[in-house]
């Protein structure tokens, strides 16, 4: 799984491209290249697009949607919240005692931890696309 800090907001994507299961998070991060009309190129949303290292498919880091077909092809994306230092329970909410069933991915952000809400993953890829459905990250 990859956790991304985009201008202070945190996002998490499964390290698996929905196309051929490549290690998505190892690809380069760029802005979103847009073309409002032929031959006019605008670089927008710098740092918000992740490219698969294999075939170059682009994904919106903030929601996992592919750029070329956002509603049908998505990388698996997870909610992320930043909680006070200490602990979090399985629902991602701060708790008094650590919950051993949840995997947490600590990063250094002042005195807080980033919590991945893996039980609430967003849809990955709609049916009828090719390939096996990715295994659930929940287990």
């Amino acid at each position: 799984m990859g956790v991304f800090n985009v201008n202070g907001s945190y996002y998490a994507l499964l390290n698996r491209c929905p196309h051929r299961n490549a290690p998505l998070c190892k690809g380069p991060i760029t802005g979103l290249v847009q073309g409002p009309e032929p031959y006019k190129i605008e670089l927008t949303r710098e740092g918000e697009v992740l490219h698969c290292p294999w075939h170059g498919w682009e994904f919106d880091i903030t929601n996992g949607q592919s750029v070329f077909n956002p509603h049908r092809v998505r990388a698996k994306s997870y909610d992320v919240s930043v909680e006070p230092a200490g602990t979090a329970n399985a629902t991602g909410e701060a708790a008094d005692e650590p919950d051993p069933s949840i995997e947490t991915f600590p990063v250094t952000v002042e005195q807080e931890i980033v919590v991945l809400h893996i039980g609430r993953s967003k849809p990955n890829r709609l049916p009828a696309a090719s390939g096996a459905a990715p295994a659930s990250a929940k287990e």
């Binding site: 009309e37 031959y39 006019k40 498919w57």
Partner: protein, 364 residues
């Protein structure tokens, strides 16, 4: 006795149980003199007193077993596809044609003087109007232009584009530069304005070799090379943004073959997904532009021997709306009339291919 009467099958026809729209009837200017009534005094004099005989290049060499069916040469020796009476009898009547679209490859793109080329193109368009369209209500035609200086081509489209007989612009598929290039946009703009289809058609004399590997030695190579030129043009039209820039433009590929489409569309869609930031004005994968905005003449069919394989190819197109029936008269694309249509089509597919796809596309 001419060569073609020895080698080629006899021209024929077939009634499919419904009127058809023939998207490709090839016509030829029989001889330079036929254009004289449509040229001004200067050019009549110039032709009479110089070696200039008009645009005499051709993409269909006489005697090649691809060029003409037997029985299509006129009784006076006039070239195949140059007689209205024969087209009426051998195409319009023989195939129960409701509307037939005339495509005249007159090689103005091979004339290096752009003013001469424009003059001859205009003469051919007026010849098409005077000798064909105004004499036979079942006929429509493609506007002949020289694409070298697109503004001049656009001017010719403006001149005749309002005539109801013209439904299309004729561009030879072999070009100086790929047609998506913005240098050619005046042509697309004029066509869109007049609600005309722009067609890319087999052949051309732009001075470029027909392959990226340089000049081949034989006509067989020239003939077979056309499919990859069409492929190049198809992708170029997509990625240069022609369909984005001209939202109402429709493009026809005529005599391009189409059985290469499934594998080619798969390839360019696949690679577009990783490379689309080069062309971010594209709003969808290339195949979607093709399915929304393009159609293809049915012949040549390149039919595999097993009809089941043909059905697979048609399924792989991903749309029943892409193909338009065409005899490609007088070219020899099939040996018997029954081979003019693929076997094993559904009734809906048959009706669409025989008439409805072309009807909507050409606003017939």
């Amino acid at each position: 006795m001419t060569m073609d009467t020895i080698t080629a099958p006899e021209v024929g026809g077939l009634d499919f149980g419904q009127p058809v729209i023939d998207a490709d009837i090839s016509v030829s200017v029989p001889k330079t003199e036929a254009l004289l009534p449509y040229l001004d005094a200067h050019w009549r004099e110039y032709i009479a007193t110089s070696a200039f005989r008009g645009a005499i290049d051709g993409s269909y060499p006489k005697g090649a077993p691809t060029s003409a069916l037997s029985g299509t040469t006129g009784p006076d020796g006039s070239p195949p596809g140059s007689s209205l009476a024969m087209v009426q009898k051998q195409v319009l009547d023989a195939w129960n044609v409701e509307v037939g679209i005339l495509n005249c490859y007159y090689a103005v793109d091979g004339l290096h003087n752009p003013d001469t080329a424009a003059t001859m193109a205009a003469a051919v368009n007026d010849w098409l109007t005077g000798e064909w369209l105004e004499k036979e209500s079942r006929l429509r035609a493609s506007i002949v232009v020289d694409p070298k200086i697109p503004a001049m081509a656009a001017k010719e489209i403006e001149r005749v584009g309002g005539h109801p007989g013209f439904v299309q612009v004729y561009l030879p598929v072999q070009s100086e530069a790929p047609y998506g290039s913005r240098r050619y946009w005046p042509i697309f703009e004029a066509a869109q304005k007049h609600d005309l289809v722009v067609s890319l058609q087999f052949g051309g004399s732009p001075g470029n070799p027909p392959t990226g590997a340089g000049w081949p030695s034989y006509y067989l190579e020239d003939y077979a090379a056309q499919a990859q030129i069409f492929q190049t043009q198809l992708l170029n039209l997509c990625v240069e943004g022609v369909f984005d820039q001209f939202p109402k433009l429709r493009i026809a590929f005529v005599e391009s073959g189409w059985t290469w489409l499934p594998s080619y569309l798969w390839r360019i869609d696949k690679d577009w997904k990783g490379l689309r930031r080069e062309v971010p004005w594209n709003k969808m994968v290339p195949s979607e532009y093709v399915r929304e905005r393009m159609k293809f003449s049915l012949q040549p069919l390149d039919a595999p021997p097993d009809p089941r394989h043909m059905q697979m190819l048609i399924d792989e197109l991903g749309s029943d709306d892409l193909l338009m029936f065409a005899t490609d008269y007088p070219h020899w694309q099939f040996d018997t009339p029954a081979e003019a249509m693929p076997a094993g089509l559904s009734e809906t597919q048959r009706r669409k291919i025989l008439s409805e796809n072309a009807r909507g596309f050409y606003r017939l």
